[in-house]
Symmetry: C2
Subunit: 205 residues, 2 copies
């Protein structure tokens, strides 16, 4: 086994993939690290270095074939398949995620949605029946789901995460504005719009 | 003027601030770089180094006073005031953002929301009347708003960004799954859940 690739590099691959898919939609066939870099605000050298960690994707002077490179990145990121995803929390954010049409072409299918509020259970969100959170562990384990998105209040988030981990979930995207602890082998990513906004206010007058 | 602080450091300050505010809510008064680091999965040395770029916030052996450090970080990040924010797009995500109660304590107030769909204009989202996108530039410039969140389709996002920039907006948080170009002096952050999910699928079996 070779040296593991830094997570910061892995984090850029989905951004490259998204740009390549967009170029393909524009009818383009070939691109270069220069062009990709200009689109993304990343240096061409960085892009070449990142991609070279995974193999030889382009020839000097001829650039990258967009379709080929997209396919390769999809395989590397394992989104050349469709992953079932569970959503926990059927409030505004959970519903917006359930309705979001952008997942299906990028490797994900919303398979289940849970909420603990009796008035929401058995109702629908984006055509999916909302399940009772008390069955979360059982249902997710039975379905073998590995990925979850959580949109529950900050105070409930860690307990939900604990249950997801016990159910076998290994990748969690959290919209709760709180740091979450997980055991080794489980990954968490956070989306907290205030964090993004506060990173930008620093630069405002 | 001293050397500019790397943006990666600025990006960690809101995460420190969020953890400190949480500790204060737990009734805590003092913390250490070790404890913060354990909570956040960041090394204590990194936290000390980041904070030391802005001054002397703790004494060796006595740790950081939580209230003092929170206040300092709030001032550094300029969230010791309340920023008016405009939302563009009153679909599921725009409405979820308008309803989100977490902004007000973290320096932000949703002041305006826009949509281009005639059937949404003049309706309300979270108690705010939805304005016609055709008035976006005029209304935002008149109000002097510097921050916007956009939740419009990918195909419309760049045009909306261009108008926001012309109106004087300098910080944009985009939920559109597309790379956006802005002139120097304007900052963009992207939230795209598929990007976060794809970064984690790499590690799944």
């Amino acid at each position: 086994m070779s040296k593991p690739i830094p997570d910061i590099v892995i984090g850029r691959l989905p951004i490259y993939l998204r740009a390549l898919v967009q170029m393909a939609q524009e009818g383009r066939q070939v691109t270069s690290s220069q062009e990709l870099g200009e689109r993304l605000g990343i240096s061409a050298a960085q892009i070449r270095k990142d991609l070279s960690q995974f193999g030889e994707f382009g020839k000097q002077g001829t650039g990258y074939r967009i379709e080929f490179l997209s396919k390769q990145l999809g395989e590397i990121l394992k989104v050349d398949r469709v992953w079932d995803v569970a959503i926990v929390g059927a409030g505004d954010i959970g519903r917006a995620l359930a309705s979001y049409s952008g997942f299906s072409q990028r490797g994900f299918r919303i398979a289940m949605i849970f909420d603990s509020k009796p008035e929401l259970v058995d109702k629908e969100a984006a055509g999916i029946v909302i399940r009772d959170s008390r069955k979360l562990k059982e249902d997710i384990a039975a379905a073998g789901i590995k990925i979850a998105m959580i949109a529950v209040p900050a105070t409930q988030a860690q307990e939900v995460v604990n249950q997801l981990v016990e159910a076998g979930v290994r990748a969690i995207l959290s919209y709760a504005p709180v740091h979450l602890s997980v055991p080794a082998g489980v990954r968490v990513q956070n989306i907290d719009p205030s964090i993004h906004l506060q990173r930008m206010t620093y630069y405002l007058d």
